[in-house]
Amino acid sequence: MFRNISLGQYLPADSILHHLDPRTKTVAGLFFILAVFAAAFPLELFFIYLAGGLLLYLSRLRMIDFWPVFKPFLIIILITVIFQLLFIPGTPLFSFSILSISYEAVETAVTFTLRFVLLLFVVRLLTATTTPVALMDGLEQMLNPLRKLGLAVHELIMIMTISLRFIPMFIEEAERIRKAQLCRGADFRIGSLSSRLKNLFAWLLPLLRSSLQRAEDLSQAMEARAYQGGEGRTRLNILRLRGGDYAYLLSMAALLAAVLLV
């Protein structure tokens, strides 16, 4: 039930991409996504794919690392493609009794699939090469100017970091309690609606309680270490842009510009 937890998991490796500043990767990722949407079929998309291939090479990850992320989306892609093929009108390419598939439909479906896959790829690339903490650190620094508008940037980012950090633990806990109740004859998939609801209750209640307990413990542990929000807090790892960051950012901006201008 919870086997697929690899969605946002950081995959450690010693690569150029792993060492870049998280801010660079976030902004460059945005450029890349915009480029994906702006790229026309087929030539521009082809070049974007080449760029994607280069990024994959630079990240030292393997294609197989991306598979767990694609898998859950396959069904969505498939359904969308079927609808596009059936319902987009245009020059008929192929027809069989009442079924008719147009040339435009095929083009739309292929473009959609190519873009979607690339989109997943680039998001996964970001989460795979950047630790959640670094990602949030970068985000905090980028949003810092908003503090002047009264937005509690540090606190918001801290909340997000903690949530991200605790997701795997929460999943583990949920799985453990589910198994424990399974051992007491509670089945969450068969039986009448009322018994399933009751069993669900036996699962969710302890989970809620342990989460609240954990939150309480954590807040006390943080206070015990003199945490009192962002004001006056210094950092252990100071983010600094280096040559590689500028090069990466510039090349992604160039990619986007090329797609938009050509």
Binding site: S6, K179, A180, R184, G185, A186, N199, P206
Partner: protein, 286 residues
């Protein structure tokens, strides 16, 4: 023979970047009515091993047989039956308590397996008695107001109410004080000796396992590195040293005295039995 494992391996997050081999080529048998202690460092695979025995996890390689049947072939319905016969108590079982009243918490299992309220009631009374909770005093207490030792006993009663023939426990005494530990261990020994329930328990503490179990198994990095009857534990002294496991002081003393030629019988490894022998020898001046 309730459990036979043949060349069983298990990997977490198979095929992914963080794949971890938890168990490698396990081969062993558990007899009916045994009391087996499983020990190992954190992450050695002991919890995985327990979960294989009642099919909460499926062996990735090899076979797990329960009463001669391959667990991999069990249907959903058979699995429900299996989990009644092979009770499992997770680490910190009090965390799964959800009902407001002790009675309802313990009756959850019996009701789930379709017993009517009369039968369920009988099961609740029996299992509360088994774990030493007085029915009149405790059954209408609120679970939230119990001490952690009491909560743990309630959780244990919740499993016993299903009348398992074999009981698997993951660190049943973790986080309890001395008194709480003693109660749980005594109780486990009691149901094993008196009611012939097979007990397989995982623990960190060698002394605890030796005080109640008859057989000891040590798992390290997913492999069984020692499997011995408790009465012969001193034969494996060097192996334990290699593994960095310390014997409880009274057994360490017994071992050193044996090496000096004292005849000390370790059929009973309890502190009292060993101490009595040493005292007798000193008194008789031999």
């Amino acid at each position: 023979m309730p459990f036979i494992l043949k060349d069983v391996s298990f990997t977490y997050q198979k095929g992914m970047a963080f794949a971890q081999k938890a168990l490698k080529g396990l081969d062993f048998t558990v007899e009916d009515g045994e009391m087996l202690g499983v020990m190992g460092a954190a992450g050695s695979g002991k919890s995985t091993f327990l979960q294989l025995l009642n099919a909460l996890l499926k062996a990735e390689q090899g076979y797990v047989f329960y009463e001669g049947q391959d667990l991999a072939q069990f249907s959903k319905k058979q699995l429900i039956g299996l989990r009644q016969e092979v009770g499992m108590v997770f680490q910190y079982p009090e965390q799964q308590i959800f009902a407001d009243l002790v009675y309802d918490e313990i009756a959850f299992g019996p009701r789930n397996i379709g017993l009517d309220s009369e039968d369920a009631d009988r099961r609740v009374r029996e299992s509360m008695q088994q774990v030493g909770l007085d029915f009149a005093e405790y059954s209408s207490r609120r679970t939230i107001a119990l001490s952690s030792g009491e909560k743990r006993r309630v959780a244990l009663a919740g499993i016993l109410a299903l009348k398992p023939r074999h009981l698997l426990l993951d660190e049943p005494t973790a986080g309890l004080d001395g008194e709480g530990r003693r109660v749980i261990l005594d109780y486990l020994q009691h149901i094993n000796r008196q009611e012939h329930i097979t007990v397989i328990m995982v623990a960190h503490h060698l002394g605890q396992l030796l005080s109640v179990c008859r057989r000891l198994m040590i798992i390290e990095k997913g492999r069984i590195v020692l499997d011995t009857s408790v009465s012969r534990i001193l034969d494996h002294y060097d192996r334990l040293q290699e593994l960095g496991i310390e014997l409880p002081p009274h057994l360490e003393a017994a071992y050193r005295l044996q090496r000096r030629g004292w005849k000390i019988d370790t059929a009973d490894v309890g502190v009292a039995a060993i101490a009595r022998q040493i005292a007798d020898k000193i008194r008789s001046g031999s």
